[in-house]
């Protein structure tokens, strides 16, 4: 690469004249700078400002002073914030299991010898391209009208009240809709994983008399283990950011039973808790980094990926 650059520098007449060999052409900086500049202004600077203000008593405007770690100490013992972490992590853990089990089974089905393979795959991927909040509104209607109506028609009493109105069960609705939307992405990755397994492995197992179930558990699962790791971690990370679907289903309710971390942070904007919720956001950031580092250490050097 370097040699080419050097050769170009001496042969091209246009562009920036280069005196030294192996000097980077100026145009490459021009290619890179817009991205770096905008990225820094739009993401890095806000992140630094946010972390800075988390050590102050700012309400988002006007005067402020440093108060050290006061916000952090208060946030860590705040029952509302604790509840949002408990809810979000619990929800993410359950959803990750539901999504991966269902997506894996679907992927096994979709990579086996079946009819209408392409059409079926097309249909199963649709939820990935539908807006989260809109599909949440659709399910909101189904949970609050259709399911209770069905319960009444069938005489099943526990179905007759909307699950969304029940503080103990509303999270299940959020898991269902989130899973509905997250399964396609996970499914496509499992399909890629399953297709990477050479067919002769199964042939050999067939000859040795292994049943289909034994083949699934003893051959397929171990061979896609790397894909499971990826899907679990990326899924979990994504679900921790839950916002759109919850807004459309319960808006954090009933009460604050289903309020996610992201929803709690955002309240800082309207409730004058800017600095306080920035401390919360910083804590959340540290957790996100920790999970990402875990992801890197688990996936590094894996041959399967």
């Amino acid at each position: 690469m370097a040699i080419t650059t050097a050769a170009v520098a001496t042969t091209t007449s246009g562009g920036i004249p280069t005196t030294r060999r192996r000097r980077v052409e100026g145009i490459y900086y021009a290619f890179l700078l817009p991205s770096l500049l905008l990225f820094t202004l739009a993401i890095t600077v806000p992140a630094i400002i946010g972390i800075f203000f988390s050590f102050t008593d700012s309400i988002g405007f006007g005067d402020w002073r440093f108060i050290g770690f006061t916000n952090y100490i208060a946030a860590l013992s705040d029952p509302a914030i604790r509840a949002s972490y408990l809810f979000t992590f619990g929800f993410a853990a359950v959803t990750v299991v539901v999504v991966n089990v269902l997506a894996f089974l679907l992927a096994v089905g979709l990579t086996s010898r079946i009819r209408f393979k392409t059409a079926l795959r097309t249909i199963f991927v649709i939820p990935m391209v539908v807006s989260g909040i809109i599909i949440a509104f659709v399910f909101n209607f189904l949970f609050s009208n259709t399911v209770p109506a069905l319960g009444e028609a069938l005489g099943i009493s526990w179905l007759q009240t909307s699950i969304l109105a029940n503080p103990h069960l509303a999270w299940i609705a959020i898991v269902i809709v989130t899973a509905w939307q997250a399964i396609p992405g996970t499914l496509l990755i499992y399909i890629a994983g399953l297709l990477s397994i050479p067919g002769d492995v199964y042939e050999a197992a067939d000859i040795d008399g292994a049943t289909k179930f034994q083949q699934l558990v003893r051959i397929t699962l171990p061979l896609v283990a790397g894909y499971v790791v990826i899907n679990v971690i990326l899924g979990f990370k994504g679900f921790l950011n839950a916002y759109d679907i919850i807004v459309g289903l319960t808006n954090g309710g009933p009460g604050t039973a289903t309020r996610s971390i992201a929803m709690t942070i955002v309240t800082g904007f309207t409730s004058g808790d800017y600095a306080y919720q920035m401390a919360n956001a910083t804590i959340f950031f540290v957790i996100a980094i920790a999970i990402s580092l875990l992801q890197l250490s688990l996936t590094r050097g894996r041959n399967a990926l």
Binding site: M1, T5, A7, S13, G14, G15, Y28, F31, L32, F39, A42, I43, P46, A47, I49, F53, G60, L106, L110, T111, R113, I114, R115, L120, T122, F124, I126, V129, V130, S131, G132, I134, F137, V138, F141, L142, A149, W180, A182, L188, I189, A192, L195, G199, D200, Y202, E203, L234, K237, N241, Y243, D244, V247, A262, V266, G268, Y274, M278, A281, A288
Partner: protein
Amino acid sequence: MSTEAAGVLEEIEAKGLLEADSRRPSAVRKDRPSWSTTIILILCTATVLVPLYVTISMAFKSQQQAVDGNAFSFPAPFSLEGFTTAWNLTSFPTAFVISVLVSLASVAGTILLASFASFAIARNWDRRPFRWSFYYLLAAMFLPFPVVALPQIQLTGLVGLDNPAGVALLHIMFQLSFSVLLFTAFLRSIPMELEESSRIDGASTWQTFRYMIFPLLAPMSATVGIFAFLASWNDFMMPSLITSNPALQTLPVVQSIFQTQFSNNYNVSFASYLMAMAPAIVVYLFTQRWVMEGVTQGAVKG
């Protein structure tokens, strides 16, 4: 979808889904397709299709029929009442145009900025500033939007970007890491000899990029562009927080603004939902090859 899908792509080995299918030794394992698996899978599609059916059928009902809230009944008579009411009530044309503009700006901005940056990074990988820039841009993958949401709301307000333009800019920035990852991986697979030949013919770096590299990137640009479109078109959180004027909101946010006004006029609300989500589904149906490849192919390992 956006953050998750973007993340998803980063790790997976490049594997053309569609070709891989045909590569699988088929005749050896089982000779004929299994009907039982096919039927189970067809039954499973109900989980996807029923919510979509309910949306479509409710949207085409008359007000009288829709008000009973029966989700499964067929529209009788077919009525466009819901659409006309939703069209006027939510100022659909305005929201639609804003959604289109934000998405297009996001697609164009993402493809241009990411391909420029990736070209510079891939061709100067032996230089520390470029290598570090790569990791710097990738770091956004580890940064969830909620973490920077509050200062971004504050800053966009200060500099007059608390509008769809600001939303488009932020969409591009959050899409950049994933797109740079895809482009750099692809650029490394383009043989250098190709570029050298154009240089020998006297083309400048800009000309080489413009007339040789950028056209070669087209399939990757398609994937990058479609993901940028879907992320931008479907996003709710960012526009709802950044754009301060409700009259300038994108379609998903408009649905939530009018949610209470729809009340029991389910035909109106579902017609409105349908108009907001149909474009993304149509785009997907025509580009599904790139959508599926993007998820899998993405990760020729950064």
